[in-house]
Each structure stands twice: as structure tokens, then as C-alpha cells.
């Protein structure tokens, strides 16, 4: 028995070493950075330990702006994208002709580079001295006045960001949901049909509970993904996010490390830990909700 467990650990060792070096050690390091006050990365010196870094970050207007942006992004995009993905997955599942083609088309954005999609969105939304951009042309065609979506008012920028995020995360969600819908045993639907169950009731009472594990999986990963948003924002608004007022938490962390105002690993570490705490809390809440509503 003793020998056997030794062997087990031996097999696990390579993975454990990698996890230790690249996950556990940095995590501990981040925690240490976050409590070292006045840390200077050039001289590797600091005054002492305390919670000042957290207090600084939490009072930084840029950070508060980043938190607001991130929360808005999460709250808006996760439910909408999951809902749209569910509708599209149901539609794809219910058609018979060209099912594969539609599945491929809806999956295409997933294999496309974020920055490339960002470029397409720039072309659609950006207003320059020479051109109004596609979307503004449409707005003007129906009688509205043009809006600067990239450098204009906050809500317009937020709209583009949410639109973009939803567009980018859709394919993965559709993929998961279509396969989840396909795995529901046809007999349940037949049984319901024999009993004269209405379409809506079949969806609400059978389909939804059956695929609820997938939906919760998507909500949790969606929350985490949206909280970590950064590259999408850069793709749309460039790297100077603070002045654009569109920074996210991860963007703030990056700026504190390497940006123009950077060189403050302690602030970055504190911000990263705050993000970690937020994601952990949300995930725990999700898990509790899941236990109540998901049957498995």
C-alpha cells in the first residue's frame, strides 16, 4: 500500500513540479508583492508590510472606473450572450436542412483572431474625418444622427464593447449548447409528446432542466471570462484605456506593470488579488445557485 502511493506520487511529480513553479509560486509571490509597501522593482527594496497597496488601488479613480466597466460588461454580456446562444442552438437543433453549414458558420468567429474581429468592428463603428463608418451610415439612413462609437460618449463605447464581447463568446456557447441539446434522449420528448405537452412546457420542464448543467457551466466560465476581459478592449480602443475611460481590471493590472504609468508591481498585485476575490465570490455564489437549480 505504502509502495503504491509512492508510485502514485511519482507519476504525479512532473505535473506537480510544473504547477508548483508556474502556478503556486507566482500566486504566493503575488500575495507577497501586494503587502509590500513602497516596493521598488529596480532596487528590489520596500519599506514594510501593510495594506496600503490595497487602499491605494481602491481609492484610485482609474481602478474604480475599471471595476465599473468590468461589472457592466459582465452583467450585460453574460446573460445576453447565453440567452442568444441558447436561442440559436435551439434553432440550429430544430432545423434539418443545412444544419452542418449553420453550425460551421456560427462557429467561425471562434477560430478568428480577436484582433482581426476588432479590426472589423473598427471598420463597422469608427467615425473618421473622411467616413462615417458602416453603422453610422445605417443610422443616418433611418433618419438618426451619427454617433462616434469609438471616441464618443461612454454609453456608445460600452455598447460597442458589449456587442463585440457577445459576438466573440457566442460560438463557443452555441457549440456547447448544441451538443448538450443533442445529448438529450429523444425518448423524453416522445414521452412528453404522447402526453400532449405543449412546446413551451417541453422546453421549460424538460429541455431546460436537462441542459442546465451546460448552462451553468457557460454562466460560470462566462463570468470568469468577462471579468478577465482585456484584449477585446485593446482591440477596440487601443492601449491607452485609462484616457478612453474604458479600462478593465486586467487592463489596470497591465498598466500598473508595464503601461506608461507603470512600474508598480505592488499595486498591480493588489488589484489582481481584488479581481481574484471578486471572481471567487461570484463563482461561489454560482455554485450555491447551481446546487439549487441543477438536478444532477
Amino acid at each position: 500500500m505504502e509502495n503504491k502511493s509512492m508510485k502514485g506520487w511519482l507519476y504525479l511529480l512532473p505535473a506537480l513540479i510544473f504547477l508548483g513553479v508556474f502556478m503556486v509560486y507566482p500566486l504566493i509571490d503575488v500575495f507577497i508583492y501586494s503587502v509590500e509597501e513602497g516596493y521598488n522593482s529596480a532596487s528590489q527594496s520596500f519599506y514594510g508590510y501593510g495594506a496600503y497597496n490595497f487602499s491605494y488601488v481602491l481609492h484610485d479613480t482609474y481602478f474604480l472606473q475599471a471595476i465599473r466597466n468590468t461589472f457592466l460588461l459582465v452583467v450585460i454580456t453574460v446573460p445576453i450572450s447565453t440567452g442568444i446562444a441558447l436561442l440559436l442552438a435551439l434553432a440550429i437543433t430544430s432545423i434539418e436542412k443545412f444544419k452542418d453549414i449553420y453550425q460551421t458558420v456560427f462557429f467561425l468567429p471562434y477560430v478568428t483572431n480577436t484582433l482581426a474581429i476588432g479590426l472589423v468592428f473598427m471598420i463597422l463603428f469608427k467615425k473618421t474625418a473622411y467616413s462615417e463608418g458602416m453603422v453610422n451610415m445605417l443610422i443616418m439612413a433611418v433618419g438618426g444622427s451619427s454617433i462616434d462609437f469609438i471616441d464618443g460618449p461612454y454609453w456608445a463605447k460600452m455598447f460597442v464593447l458589449c456587442f463585440y464581447t457577445i459576438w466573440v463568446v457566442l460560438p463557443f456557447k452555441i457549440l456547447i449548447l448544441t451538443s448538450s441539446l443533442a445529448s438529450v434522449n429523444q425518448d423524453y420528448y416522445n414521452a412528453a409528446r404522447v402526453d400532449g405537452t405543449s412546446k413551451w412546457r417541453i422546453f421549460y420542464k424538460i429541455t431546460l432542466p436537462m441542459i442546465s448543467p451546460s448552462i451553468f457551466y457557460l454562466i460560470i466560465t462566462g463570468f470568469i471570462g468577462a471579468f478577465k476581459a482585456y484584449s477585446d478592449v485593446v482591440a477596440l480602443f487601443g492601449t491607452n484605456l485609462n484616457s478612453a475611460g474604458m479600462n478593465t481590471i486586467v487592463g489596470y493590472v497591465y498598466d500598473m506593470l508595464y503601461g506608461d504609468s507603470g512600474g508598480y508591481p505592488s499595486y498591480a498585485a493588489a488589484a489582481a488579488l481584488i479581481l481574484f476575490a471578486i471572481v471567487l465570490t461570484i463563482t461561489c455564489i454560482n455554485m450555491l445557485v447551481r446546487r439549487k437549480y441543477v438536478y444532477i
Binding site: 404522447v194 438536478y295 444532477i296
Partner: protein, 364 residues
Amino acid sequence: MKVVLQNLTKKYPNRNKKIGGEVTAVGDFNFEIPDGQLIGLLGPSGCGKSTTLNLISGLIKPTSGKIWFGETDVTNLPPENRGIGLVFQNYALYPHLTVRQNITFPLENLKGDKKLSREVMNDKALEAAKLVQIDHLMDRKPSELSGGQQQRVAIARALVKVPRVLLLDEPLSNLDARLRLQTREEIRRIQQETGVTTIFVTHDQEEAMSISDMIVVMKDGYVQQIGKPQDVYDDPVNLFVAKFLGTPPINVFEGKVKGGKVYVGNDAIGDAANVSDQDVWIGIRPEGFILDENGPLHCNMERVEVMGRDVSIVSTNPCSANVTVRSIISSDIKVDRTKTDVRFSVKPHKICIFNKDTEERIHI
């Protein structure tokens, strides 16, 4: 409710496009099921028995032919308007609902003036549950039940709306051997208590024979024989039916009819006075043999298997189409195991002969 199937046919386009054409899943099925009977649809897998059941349920539409429930033509009615209860092979119990919620599910679908109050629904569910003896399990989830209990829940769910016809698709195939025996009697009891016309599908001939009022034997989409279990067993219309029914299976010999006698090799085992001389298949049920020192049929003794209630003599014969010839005799009769040969006479009414080419029965 009387159920009438009239020239019922279901064809599917061939999946293999190279061959093309159509595959007949069910061909020209005619049967009038009397009210309140228990009918077993029996056949090997792929014979169209489940398709027939689904046609009756309305889950699939026939290519041609008609289905009548009593005096109403239900051929074009959707399943929910046919008044059927259907029990699926895997039971299809909703895993996220409790037993009570599963049973009340069909009732909750009722609309308009048929709508029931929650109390009435619960009462009806309890009544159905009592019938199948699961009323103590109402608040459990299906995953917390044994296979047999799940089966009962499925039957209760099918019965709660008081269907005109109850359909069961391979109801016992997911149960272990002991539970199967118990459950099939249970199905019989429930059917007799409710008096609902019941049709069930099975590939297990023993199951079908033991509880059905009538059995329908199918092969490759076509009905081979319909009748009372004992009649079909004793009087098969062709070699397929003869081979399909009975455990241990019927013994088949290559033989011939010559001068009004039935021959296995050179052994004249019985009379066939009105049959012209020809090569035939001869079928003899294991219980058709009598151990007889002077009997006409010579076989080589292989071994003797003791079953307690009776003894089975396993022997070989050069004309046998099976590897061995199995005969079942009463355990009171002493068998001399040291002998290398064994002789039988055959009960005259247990000899069935079949045309060598068409395998149709030739009546002696």
C-alpha cells in the same frame, strides 16, 4: 378499446444510397385486437415490432394503411389525441422530477375544462401509484429507485390519464432475470385490473408466451403468425416461427417423406399419409421424444443433463440441423448413461414438417 390495424405499412428510404429503393419496416399488417386483451408483439431485433408499436402510438406516421381505435380512425391523429399510454424501453422518466411529479406530468398538460386541481391530480397520481405498488416512494427521484421500481413509475405515468390503449416497448429488457419474472406477472395483474387493451413488444418469446392473450410473431416487417401462445407453439405456420418459439429450441432435422412415412435418415419416425414424396424439414419439440429401447429414431448419446424436475438427453444425429438433439423427459425415467446410442419414438402430434424450400408448414 378495440384496436384494428388495416394494411398497415411503413417504408423508409434505403440509407445506403447505392442500393437505393425502400426498406419495408412493417408490411401490410392486418390485425383486429379485441377489447381488453394483452397482446405480445414478438420477433427478433429489426423485425418491425417497435415500429408497429410506434405506428399505433402515432409517434411515426404510416406510409399506407389505417389504424382504428374502436370506431374512430386515428391514423392521422397526433399521439396526444389518441388517448394512449406509452412505456418506453428505458422508461424515459424525467430525472429532475420526483416520482409524484413524473406521474402527474401528463395530467398537468390538460387544458380548458379538463384542467384538474392540484388535489385531484395528486389523488389520481396516488391511485395510479397504489396500483403499481409504489405509493411509498412518491417523493423520491428516479435515480434513487431500482430498475423495477422505475419500471412501475413509468407504468403509473402511462396509466394515470386512463388511456384507451397501453403500449409497452420492451418493458422487461432492462431488468434482471428474477425481477423480470416478477414484473411480467405484475404487468399481467395490472392489465387485468384495469382491463385496458395492452400491446407490448418483446424479443423474448418466453415473456410473450407467459402473459399474452395473443401473440404476434413478426419477421422482417411481416407478420408470420397470430394466435394464442399455445396454438402458435404447437402449430407453427413455418419453420421460422417453430424455431423462434420455445426454450430449449425445437430440434430440426433434414428428412424426407416417402410412401406416406416421415424419415429421418433411414428411420421412419411417423406417418404422413396425405403428403406426396419430397425432401422436408422436420421439427420436433424437445418434449416430443419418448425414450424407447425399440424406438425408430437412432441417436448417439452425448450427455445427460439433470434439471431436477426433468432430464434432458443431449445426443447427436447425422441428419440434425442443430449441433445436438435435445430431448426432455421426466426425471422418473431412468436413463442408462453408459450406452453410446439412444433410441426414441416420437409423439405423432409433435412432428411438424416443413417444405424444404419455402419452409412453410406441411400439414400431415
